[in-house]
């Protein structure tokens, strides 16, 4: 019997689960390729690319060069590097520029390429003219939404094609970018860190409202999308949602924000809040990627 089970495991399903070939896709089936095993690289790649662009975006308003440099590096070196690690044939990565007319991934590669060059020019020349700033602002926003945009166009996965996916990704990128920016101001003793706290208060609430709207909108989108949300709220992913997104990503940062409400901010607390929202945001991305399901075939 043991031998038979072993053989079935090998012969049948790629994941080694108990699913047999004839059971595959006869009920809603979760996507695995972009989250399990090496797929986790993609989550990290999207995360780094987007938070880096978020920091760049916020730094642009204040012409804060350190923020621009760090944002540019995080986005391209960390984000881009991890992206390449995910690929099956990384040395062919340049080929991803070949189909911008239909492929969102290809369009994203172009945008990242243009951002890399234009950002470099801006950092080196310190050109903060209004036209250049607007261009870089738009490019940053496009990169912030790149990962979720790539997911959003996949019609086969209802949980990803939800309308709230893009606003959520933009707010999340800007929110984390803003926190990194404030932390950098605080450690460098810049007084602006204090007046900036109002943005942190607003964005924390907006971010969480976006998460709730995503859940609500996706739940009502289709039967399969509803299953994804149930998995998130009541199924295997509930611990990540309540522990990661709600507690670590919202409640604890809220407590810290309330503690600093009277304007008494300090770099230690800002760092703690930043670490918490990092973890909360990764948890949010993980469950969105992990909970996406395909409609059954029959």
């Amino acid at each position: 019997m043991k031998k038979r089970n072993e053989l079935e495991k090998i012969m049948f399903h790629p994941t080694g689960t108990d699913l047999k070939p004839y059971e595959w896709m006869i009920s809603a089936t979760p996507q695995q390729e972009w989250i399990d095993k090496k797929g986790i690289f993609l989550l990290l790649a999207f995360f780094f690319t987007e938070i880096g662009a978020g920091l760049y975006f916020i730094s642009l308003f204040y012409q804060y060069r350190t923020g621009l440099i760090l944002g540019w590096l995080i986005s391209l070196i960390l984000g881009g590097g991890v992206h390449v690690l995910y690929l099956g044939n990384p040395f062919r990565a340049w080929r991803m520029l070949m189909k911008p007319q239909t492929s969102e991934l290809s369009r994203g590669m172009w945008i990242i390429g243009i951002f890399a060059v234009a950002g470099f020019v801006q950092i080196v020349t310190s050109n903060f003219g209004p036209v250049f700033n607007v261009i870089m602002g738009i490019l940053s926003l496009l990169i912030i939404s790149h990962g979720f945009m790539t997911m959003n166009v996949i019609r086969a996965l209802a949980a990803w094609s939800s309308t709230m996916v893009i606003p959520l990704s933009i707010i999340s990128g800007v929110w984390i970018g803003c926190q990194m920016f404030q932390f950098m101001l605080a450690v460098s003793g810049n007084q602006m860190a204090q007046s900036f706290e109002i943005w942190s208060q607003i964005l924390l609430i907006v971010y969480f409202v976006c998460v709730l709207l995503y859940i609500w909108g996706t739940y009502h989108a289709s039967e399969t999308a509803e299953k994804s949300i149930s998995l998130m709220l009541k199924g295997d992913l509930a611990k990540y949602f309540y522990g990661g997104v709600v507690l670590i990503g919202f409640m604890l940062p809220l407590l810290i924000t309330l503690k600093m409400w009277d304007g008494d901010i300090n770099a230690g607390l800002i760092f703690l809040r930043l670490a918490l929202i990092f973890a909360g945001d990764i948890a949010m991305r993980y469950i969105i990627m992990k909970s996406a399901m395909y409609q059954p075939l029959i």
Binding site: W24, L87, M98, L297
Partner: protein, 218 residues
């Protein structure tokens, strides 16, 4: 130019998995890789429930989600309607795999390459021959190719795919009950066009707008 397609008569299918096995043999597919599957499900509720048997394969969609998603052009649509993968261009991003609403693609990696049909006993001669005859590239995506090689060789010999066994996909000729009919969708006189018209052939998930070239009749 013909546009190849398939009709599957689900009433005839007896779920013998001959198609699944013949496909594996034809392409020397490693363990855990299926280009052809037979799904068994249920519709309705007791006491009026019925058993559903659906053989599934790549639909070689006219408006394929995988073709649109592929950033490199490695997945492309041929003039004869077959959706093919150029392993030399594939970067292994799996955008195609994720985008396919029918989940007909498989990522081929080291794990799959090294998998043995008789674990721990090394590869059989048959598996070794397969690796030479039908080499796959690690880090790329693979899927059903409608037995392109059989169709092309058959056409060169002046045979007609769908009519002559030698020019038809392996799953079609292996099916003991004739549940699979292959042919030219653009030829209104072909058997498959007639069956689709007469028996109101249905595609899987037409709502995705991919226009599958595989139709189901019952």
């Amino acid at each position: 130019m013909a546009r190849w397609g398939m009709v599957i008569d689900v009433k005839r299918c007896i779920a013998c998995w001959s198609c699944t096995i013949s496909c594996k043999e034809e392409h020397f597919l490693p363990p855990n890789v299926f280009w052809n599957r037979v799904l068994i499900g249920e519709a309705g509720k007791f006491p009026t429930s019925r058993k559903l048997i659906y053989p599934v394969l790549c639909n070689h969609c006219a408006d394929a989600a995988c073709v649109d998603a592929c950033p490199t052009g490695a997945t492309y649509k041929r003039e004869d309607g077959i959706v093919a993968v150029d392993y030399d261009k594939c970067v292994g991003c799996r955008a195609c795999l994720i985008s396919c609403p029918y989940q007909q693609r498989t990522y081929y990696d080291e794990e799959k390459k090294n998998a043995e049909y008789f674990p721990g006993q090394g590869k059989t001669e048959y598996e070794k021959i397969g690796e030479k005859l039908y080499p796959f590239t690690c880090g790329t995506v693979m899927k059903c190719n409608f037995c392109t090689e059989r169709i092309e060789e058959g056409l060169e010999k002046g045979l007609t795919p769908g009519t002559d066994d030698e020019a038809s996909p392996a799953c079609v000729i292996a099916c003991p009950v004739g549940a699979r009919i292959f042919g030219d969708l653009d030829d209104s006189e072909s058997e498959i066009s007639r069956l689709i018209m007469e028996k109101n052939g249905k595609q899987l998930h037409p709502e995705f707008g991919t226009e599958p070239a595989v139709y189901y009749i019952d």
